[in-house]
Subunit: 392 residues, 2 copies
C-alpha cells in the first residue's frame, strides 16, 4: 500500500458522500473520468489523463481503477485500490483508428455485471471525449446512460480539515513566488527568464510544502497584451510604462492557491491607479460578503459596486471554486462567483476570487484565494499586500 496523501478515513468519507449523491441521482454505477475526481476518490495521481481512464464507483465495495495497461503500475503505486480492482485495456486501443478505449470499458462494465444498470458519466469533463461517449453508449446497449456531470465535483466543494491544510501549504508557495516575483522583476528583464525563476521558486516550495506542477502555467501579459487574460510568456523584456499582471498558483500535491498581483514599471497613469484602488476595495467588500449563509453571487455584487464607482463594468464572472485540480484548469467547475450564482456559501469552501480587469489596451489583476469560515468574513489564504505594485 503506497503512502497516501490523506488518511484512509478521509477517502472513506469521500466515497460515502459520492454514493449518497449517486443514490439521490438514481445511479447504480458512476464513471469518474475527471482526473481530479479520480484522485479525490482514490489517491491516483499521474500524468496519464492524455489517454482514457476512469474510476468506477459501484453500489458497494472498493471502486475500480480502469486505464491503460502501462498505467496500472501507477494505480498500484499511488492509490489504495486493491490489485483485483485494477483493470486495464491493451495498448492497441490507444489512438487507434479502428477501436476506442471506451469499447474496453464497456466490456469491463458488462463483465462486472453492470451492463443493464443506470450508469452515470461526466459529459462535461475535459477528458471524456465525444468519441469516447459514443463508444461507451454503443458498447452498453442495455444500460441507461445518464449525464452525471459535476456529481463528484459538488461533493468536493466543501474542503475537509485535511484538505484545508494542503491549501494552506499551497498558499505558502504562492506567497513565496509572488514575493520573489516582485523582488526580481525589473525593466529589461526577459519574461521567459522571469518565469523560469518563478517556476523554480514554486517547485522548490517552502519547507515540507514541496511544489507540484500548477494546472495552469503562469500567465503574465504586459502592456496592451494584458488586455488578453490568457497569454503566457515569450522572450520580450519588461518595459517602463507598462503593467504586467502575474497570475499563478502555488500547488501542493495537486491542491492550488491561485494568487495574482500586478506590477507597473514607472509612474502608473491615474486611471490605472483608480482601477487598482477600486479592485482592492471590491476585494475587501467581497471578502466581507463571503460569509457562510450568503450566496456566491453576493460576493460578486459587493465587488461590482466598487468597480462601478470608477466606471468599470465587468462582463465576466469574478471567481470560481478552486482546490484539487489537473490541467488545463485549477478551477473546480462548481461555484462561480457571479451575481446569478445562488450557491449558499458553506464553511470550508475555497474560491479563487478573481476580478481581473481586461480593458481595451491594458489589464490588471489583484486576486485572492479565500476560505469560507464558520463565522465572519472569509479568510484570504495568501499574505501579499493587496495593491498595485510599482517599481522603477
Amino acid at each position: 500500500m503506497p503512502a497516501l496523501p490523506f488518511s484512509r478515513s478521509e477517502y472513506d468519507r469521500r466515497l460515502a458522500l459520492t454514493r449518497k449523491a449517486m443514490e439521490a441521482a438514481g445511479l447504480d454505477v458512476l464513471v469518474v473520468t475527471a482526473p481530479a475526481g479520480m484522485n479525490w476518490l482514490t489517491g491516483y495521481d499521474g500524468w496519464s489523463f492524455y489517454v482514457d481512464q476512469a474510476v468506477l464507483v459501484t453500489p458497494t465495495g472498493m471502486p475500480f481503477w480502469w486505464g491503460r495497461l502501462m498505467d496500472a503500475n501507477g494505480a498500484r503505486r499511488t492509490s489504495y485500490i486493491d490489485e483485483d480492482h485494477i483493470i486495464y485495456y491493451a495498448d492497441r486501443y490507444v489512438q487507434a483508428a479502428d477501436c476506442h478505449p471506451m469499447d474496453d470499458l464497456a466490456d469491463k462494465i458488462r463483465e462486472l455485471d453492470h451492463g443493464k444498470n443506470r450508469i452515470g458519466v461526466e459529459m462535461t469533463a475535459y477528458y471524456y471525449s465525444a468519441a469516447g461517449h459514443k463508444a461507451l453508449v454503443a458498447g452498453l446497449p442495455d444500460a441507461t446512460i445518464i449525464d452525471a456531470s459535476g456529481l463528484v465535483d459538488w461533493q468536493r466543494v466543501v474542503k475537509s480539515d485535511e484538505e484545508i491544510a494542503f491549501m494552506r501549504k499551497a498558499a505558502r508557495i504562492s506567497d513565496k513566488v509572488m514575493s520573489h516575483a516582485m523582488e526580481i522583476a525589473e525593466p529589461g528583464m526577459k519574461k521567459n527568464r522571469f518565469v523560469g525563476e518563478l517556476m523554480k521558486a514554486a517547485i522548490d516550495g517552502v519547507d515540507d510544502a514541496w511544489g507540484d506542477y500548477p494546472s495552469i502555467m503562469p500567465l503574465l501579459p504586459s502592456g496592451a497584451d494584458a488586455s488578453a487574460p490568457h497569454l503566457t510568456w515569450n522572450s520580450d523584456e519588461f518595459r517602463m510604462g507598462e503593467a504586467t499582471f502575474i497570475e499563478q498558483a502555488g500547488c501542493y500535491r495537486r491542491y492550488h492557491a491561485p494568487l495574482s498581483r500586478t506590477i507597473f514599471f514607472g509612474a502608473p497613469p491615474d486611471h490605472m491607479k483608480a482601477a487598482a484602488d477600486a479592485a482592492v476595495a471590491g476585494l475587501n467588500a467581497g471578502i466581507e460578503a463571503a460569509k457562510a449563509g450568503n450566496r456566491a453571487g453576493d460576493i460578486a455584487a459587493a465587488m461590482e459596486r466598487e468597480l462601478w464607482k470608477v466606471g468599470i463594468e465587468r462582463p465576466n464572472r469574478c471567481g470560481y471554486a478552486t482546490g484539487l485540480a489537473y490541467p488545463p484548469d485549477w478551477g473546480e467547475h462548481t461555484v462561480s462567483i457571479r451575481t446569478s450564482d445562488d450557491t449558499l456559501l458553506k464553511p470550508g469552501m475555497t474560491l479563487h476570487f478573481m476580478p481581473g480587469l481586461w480593458m481595451d489596451d491594458w489589464g490588471l489583476e489583484i486576486t485572492e484565494t479565500i476560505l469560507i469560515k464558520q463565522d465572519g468574513p472569509a479568510e484570504a489564504l495568501c499574505n501579499i499586500e493587496r495593491k498595485l505594485f510599482v517599481k522603477g
Copy 2:
C-alpha cells in the same frame, strides 16, 4: 497585425491543405477545437483551452476564431484573423448549468448561413467534450455533423522547413536540460529541487530559443516507481542503487523535441545494463529503418528484434508523431510507432521514438525525437549520448 511565428505563406499553405482534405471528406465547414490545430491554422496561442473555443474553416475566405468574450483580445494579439472574423460568446455560458458555449457556436454557424451544411467536428479531440458535441448537434438540426477527427492533425504530420527550424530550437533546449540534469543529479538530492532546476533551464532556453511550457510536465519516477511511466515528482531524495528516468521536452513556441535518458546511482545490475544496451541497439536499428518509403511499423519491428534478444517483449507502442502540441500531450495523435501502423514515412515527419521499458519493479527510458529525411536513415534532433548514465 501581431508578429506571427511563421510567414503568412506558411499559414496559407496550411489552410489550403486543410481545405483540400475537407473537400475530399465532403465537408463544407470544419470546426477545429484542438488547440494545436487552432494554432497551426491561425497562430492563435493562449491558455484558454479550458473553455470551449474553435477555429471555423469555411469553403472560402479567412477562417473564423470563435471563443469566450474575454479571449477575443488574445485572438487579436496572436493570430492573423481579421476583426470581423473574431466571434465570441458571452461569459454567462462558461460552466453554467442551463446553457453550453456550443449553443452559441450553433447560433453563430446558422447566422453565417452554414446551418444546413455538412459540418466536420473533432470527436476525439481533448477539449471537444461529450456535452459540447450534444449541444452542437442539438443546435444544428438541419446540418449533417460528420466526425472529422484527425483531419487537421494529418495535414500537420509532415513539417515544413519553417517548422523543422522550430523543432531544432526545441531540441537545443532538450539537450541543455538533459546535460544539466546529468550534471546536477546526485544521491540525496530532493526530486522537486531537481525538477525546479530543469524547468528553469528549459524556460531560460538557449540563445534566441526561449523556452515555452512543455505539454507534459517532467516525468521522473525512481526505483520501483519507474515501473509506472507517468508519475511526476515529489520531495523524495535520489537514492543509491536506483534508476530514475527523466522524460521531458524542450519546447519552442509550442514545438516540442521530447528526449528521455536514465540515470543510475551506483553500479547498475546486469539485467539493467543488458536492457539499456538492447534499447540503444534497438534505437539505432529503428533509426536505420526510419527511412522515407518504409512504414512506421518497420521502426517498431527493428526495435523489437533487439529487445527480444534480451528477453524483453514490450506490450506498448514505441513512439508517435510529435511537434506542435498543447497540454495534456506532446504527441500529435497521427502516426504511432507500432508494428500494425502502415503509415508510409515521408521526409519532414517528426516522431518521438519512445521504447520505454516499464518492468515489474524498475524502469528505463532512452528515447529520441527523429526527423525523417529525403534519403537515408532518420536524423535524431538531440545530441545526448545514447546510453544508461551512471553516477556515484
